[in-house]
Symmetry: C2
Subunit: 329 residues, 2 copies
DNA sequence: TTGAAAGCGATACCAT
DNA sequence: ATGGTATCGCTTTCAA
């Protein structure tokens, strides 16, 4: 079948060891021999078997990536960032989708652990106590989650919320709702914390209307609760929820932003495509993926020094038509 | 580090061979021994190293998947379907995104070929002559593309277009535009062919307004051409383009569906979320992914007999608010 | 029913 | 500078 190192060795009239060296440590081989080997290799179309190499070197050249739900456009962005960086570094990427089932996370990590050099865990929902042993077993980087002694890439949710509240305050809003996402989401907790802090600092009333699925339907479901809460603005855990709110508001003939202002988080592409376009807290999603890969490689080379490495990326408010000044009497 | 088969063997007081058999060919091992081995294995948290196994069996237990652009919500759907099926069958999946760069396809196939048992090529843009040698080298299944002697899963684009035209005809439309996607897209060619056939059969005028990127911005760009074409309805290569059309129409104060009807293809989630919601030709996307995996496994077991296996999945028109009867004078 | 040993493909160490 | 050999973890004859 496939051409092996021994085929090349025979063809070039040298030993397998020499072929190996000629290809991976050229400086150790006489120029003439090296050339002969290289010619044979490319003539036969040889390329080394990564699995076999990994067996002995302990490096597979593969990375693992686990995300909660590819149907949420936020995550494909992360995947693209990771892919792009991984390809630059000549790594291949296993991708697994847990379908928002927290127990699937650990299973998938276990399944991938032996065939990858490291794993990027994106927005994991599992508990810290479940997470830490996994991270000790395989080099792991967390995205959108912070856990002590595990490297992570996060967005500055606190500052994002501060910007959102500042914007609403400037527009005259005094009473604002928050539609929460999954309770097990670290981002959700951070966003809530950021909102509380910012609200207090601005003497704004914050109404928490509960937790919903981080999806369009979650927003649909929350919309009526928001209206009943008698607020003039609402911040949603993510853009999908915010889009659900917008949709339901329209169905109920509630004017946005005339009657109520809406702010989402993530800045998924769709947010700019709807009408009115959604004001949202933008995060550099692809960049977070790239940063995750870089952190992972650091970690692999240097298990201890970088164990607590952290990148926190800036967010910024993108103001669009779904927020506006308060007109109500 | 990781627990190996020998650790389990020692713990259970048997040889490595027996552990291997107990786990993969249980019927060859005495029940009692088998149980003991299994207990040791799970106590130690053993799971076999796929790479090492692959070295000897020639099977890696991995699949490769190559898609043009994860940012187009159609593709994450495919990925989810493939993942789900692959996980059921205990396969892990490499995912690679070409960013719509056709030359990246072959490179990625080459890079993955040696570490997977088979590859699913989703909507490949490369030429047939480039495709065929790749498919001969590694078991390959095509999604959304048909090439002789390579197994494939496709949607019944022709019938989908027939349904779309029937719908528009029933509403009274006589002159319809088509906004094309990438010229190198097989689906685009099929859709165009289907439209031409159906238009002729219904004595409908079909205006082809050129090819655009299969993205929201493509639709924005095409909208003005469509308006200038003096049609009462437009079919777009995909939903993203259709959403771009809707957006631009709204910006130009063109009423949909009062002044013009719009039909997309794919039925991505967003299509139901906008206003007016988009009429579209729905395809069973996740199912196509699952079918792709099944075809691939057939092919692996049976390289010759199934070389030309084909699945064509039914599509159906989902009518929503973006199409309506003709009111114009 | 079980164990010993060979070997998959590549690499790394030890000789020469 | 090059070759021989052991080894990675697992599966698979072949014997017992």
């Amino acid at each position: 079948m496939a051409v092996t190192i021994r085929d090349v060795a025979r063809d070039a009239g040298v030993s397998a060891s020499t072929v190996c060296r000629a290809l991976s440590s050229p400086e150790l081989v006489k120029a003439e021999t090296r050339e002969r080997v290289r010619r044979s290799a490319s003539a036969l179309g040889y390329s080394p078997n990564k699995a076999a190499r990994g067996l002995i070197t302990g490096r597979t050249g593969n990375l693992g990536l686990i995300v909660p739900d590819l149907a949420n456009p936020f995550f494909p962005g992360v995947v693209k960032g990771i892919q792009a960086r991984a390809r630059e570094l000549d790594y291949a990427v296993f991708v697994a989708d847990t379908d928002e089932v927290p127990t699937a996370e650990a299973e998938l990590v276990q399944a991938l652990a032996k065939q990858v050099d490291g794993i990027v865990l994106c927005s994991p929902r599992m508990s810290e106590s479940a997470l830490r042993p996994l991270a000790e077993q395989t080099p792991t980087v967390l995205l959108n989650r912070r856990v002590s002694r595990i490297p992570s890439v996060t967005f500055d949710n606190l500052d994002g919320m501060r910007q959102a509240v500042a914007h609403l305050t400037a527009l005259g809003h005094r009473r604002v709702a928050y539609v929460g996402g999954p309770r097990s989401s670290w981002s959700n907790r951070e966003r809530l914390r950021g909102l509380r802090t910012a609200a207090a600092a601005n003497r704004l009333e914050l109404v928490e209307v509960g937790n919903v699925l981080p999806q369009f339907t979650g927003g649909i479901a929350a919309a009526d609760l928001v209206l009943a809460a008698d607020v003039t603005a609402v911040v949603a855990y993510n853009d999908l929820i915010a889009l659900g709110l917008l949709s339901r508001f329209r169905a109920r003939d509630v004017d946005v932003p005339g009657h109520i202002s809406v702010i989402g988080i993530d800045d998924i592409a769709m947010s700019a495509m709807v009408h009115p376009p959604l004001t949202t807290v933008s995060s550099p999603v692809e960049q977070s993926g790239r940063a995750g890969v870089d952190l992972l490689l650091d970690l692999m080379e240097n298990p201890d020094r970088t164990a607590t490495a952290r990148r926190e990326l800036d967010t910024h408010l993108t103001v669009r038509g779904s927020t506006g000044p308060l007109h109500r009497p």
